[in-house]
Amino acid sequence: MSITVERNMKQWLLDTIKPDEFAEKDLKKNGILFEALARPDQIQSVAREFLAQRYFLESLTAVDFAECLELVYHFNRWDGCRRVCVKVLVPKEGGVPGNGAWHAPTLSSIFKSANWFEREIHEMFGIVFDGHPHLKRLLLPESSTIFPLLKSFKGEPKGSDVAQSLKLIEEDAKEFRVQEAQSLTKKDKDYYLNLGPQHPSTHGVLRVLLHLSGERVLDGEPIIGYSHRHHEKMMEIQTYFGCWPNMGRLDYVGAMSYNMGYALLAEKALGLVPPPRVEHIRVLMTELNRISSHLLWMGTFLLDLGAFTPFFYCFDDREQILDILEMATGERLTYDYFRFGGVDHDIPQEFAPAIKAFIPGFRKRLADYDKLIRRNIIFEKRTKGLGVLTKESALSYGVTGPSLRAAGVAYDLRRDEPYSLYPELDFNIPTATDSDVYSRYWVRFREMEESLKIISQLVDKIPAGETKLARVPKNFPKGEYYSACESARGLFGMHLVSDGSLNPYRFKLRTPSFSNLNSIIDMLPGCLISDVVAVLGSIDIVLPEIDR
């Protein structure tokens, strides 16, 4: 079915759009089926056609070249890996960043996820998207004047005073308060409430601007960027090997999946085949980490709902997993363990017995959790029917991971774009139908059971052998590569443009929480203030992964 759709799309692109450049690509190497170069005035009709064929906008980014900026759109479908890439060139003639001379049409009226992607490109590259409803800076303070991901940006100049920039940020904040005061006088009962950035229930430094009428939320807008750590610019000056620690610090709660993503990208691009022992260790590590990530989420989510006890139980179980992971990696949190074609060092002798000892105890704990939490009447009343995300909305926002599976779509990259050992393993993709907070809890809960199933299948069968390849290239061949894997939160994609040198030319990280968080704009209206934290908790966000 989807193959016909894809063929049709290709034919449609070739017939109707007549792209200037068109190239078939290898899914196993470049991660995409084909790429096409459209003209700026065509991209909106391309996007409309893709949406009509049930594609979602997976990633949107830009690459800075000497003569032009290249906008890179990745579209994908929920049934299997059908990723395609469409590009648009924005000529650089007659413009400097910030003067508004570089234009491109907006897709925000077609794909809702494009809203944030375009705002990010606007602030990082200085491209103006015509017709964008709210083209302001997304990650950096509004008073910034820099466009950091342009190649002409050479860092903050010497003597640039932080005091000065802080002053500007404070002025921004004052201006916001003035606006707020004005809006208060206009309508008597509506008011604005700031949730965060310092709030125990926002799981980090997220700020949500709530527009309220009494206790009821009229609309809410997440404001992000309070944890922006310039990963993408940083990676451009590091060697490929030096990017490993960044992978551990993007999503520190489920860092193994990010290690996996980077390893997959390299292995696809360089044609490396890791030894079987490595594959086994990697899947074991990733699944253990997935459980620990879900446990942390469960503890804090229930803490947000007012249940204090599960927090201690979940952390108790999580510590046991961390002990096992620490045994092999030496780290508790920000893992930096995988390598191109291998892992950093071999697992110790006690590794497999420790996992075997952990499994039965944790099975019993899961049964306890189920009895205590899911059938708890207070929990049910607080979560059922709350924060509903429709399938249409999920498609438009590019929501992935458990949040999407709670809406009844069994889209999991471990099944749909199989990598590593996953094709050989027996596991289910848990889904739910209601797409509310309760469903998201239930899907994540059963995912822990499935991960445990995967672990128990593998733990007895770790083959002996090498854990490293003898020779690994230090650089990627010239070209563009895309790779994705299923992290604990959804689809984690990486788009790499390599110029053949020792460090990346452009590294785009497509993080799942970024799109997932964007979708709460559709979930919040109609909630009560106390439900906002339940909705926020249910999508399982990690802020440094969103802000990058």
């Binding site: 010497k158 003597g159 005073d161 750590r229 310039h230 000056i237 952390f315 110029d499 030319y505």
Partner: protein, 200 residues
């Protein structure tokens, strides 16, 4: 209890050294302060997860009397800066610090809060290289992220400092002076797209 009305009663008694001790009032206060530190529930990045782990089942910071995390700065006297300080977040941290009642103490948890951590490089544009650029810090804890044991050791060290009167709770904020180095020529220049496409 009957109170002795003799004004020279205290002088006539010879108290054993174990029974009565004389303190400065400030010392008594410091002892109370040290043993009831109320940290602010405040996490910025990765280190916050270890902070949570420190408060949870295994490490149980309550054992030492500093497990009472308060979400409001008005109720807390210890700020544990756990994570990378982005410039967008700086005014918020400053506001939180100013809202805390005196005497107040600050712990910089991890490399980022201490000096920028792994995200520090010459010419970076996004982070503040160390929280001590804007507020005074009492204890620095190294690590990326530090283990919960290190956090506990750090807070115990702070308790010791407070008890011995070595640290002052109230200090005037340090002046912000953080000038960046110029970027060395490691940043690449833009390459030509036409040539790139030709060779791919």
């Amino acid at each position: 209890m009957e109170i002795n009305q003799d004004p020279h009663y205290l002088n006539t008694q010879t108290p054993s050294p174990d029974m009565v001790r004389f303190f400065k009032v400030e010392d008594v206060f410091n002892m109370a302060r040290a043993n009831s530190l109320w940290p602010l529930t405040f996490g910025l990045a990765c280190c916050a997860i270890e902070l949570m782990a420190g408060g949870a089942a295994r490490f149980d910071m309550d054992r030492f009397g500093f497990g009472v995390f308060r979400p409001s700065p008005r109720q807390s006297d210890l700020m544990i800066v756990a994570g990378t300080i982005s410039r967008k977040m700086v005014p918020c941290i400053k506001t939180l610090y100013d809202q805390m009642p005196s005497p107040k103490y600050v712990i910089a948890l991890g490399g980022c809060a201490t000096a920028g951590g792994p995200f520090k490089y010459p010419g970076q544009y996004g982070i503040l290289e160390g929280i001590d650029k804007i507020i005074p810090v009492n204890v620095y804890i190294p690590g990326c992220p530090p283990r919960p044991e290190a956090l506990i050791a750090g807070i115990l060290e702070l308790q010791k400092q407070i008890k011995e009167g070595r640290t002052q709770g109230v200090m005037s904020p340090a002046a912000v002076n953080d000038s960046q180095d110029a970027r060395p020529a490691e940043y690449k220049n833009a390459m030509s797209r036409a040539e790139f496409r030709k060779q791919v």
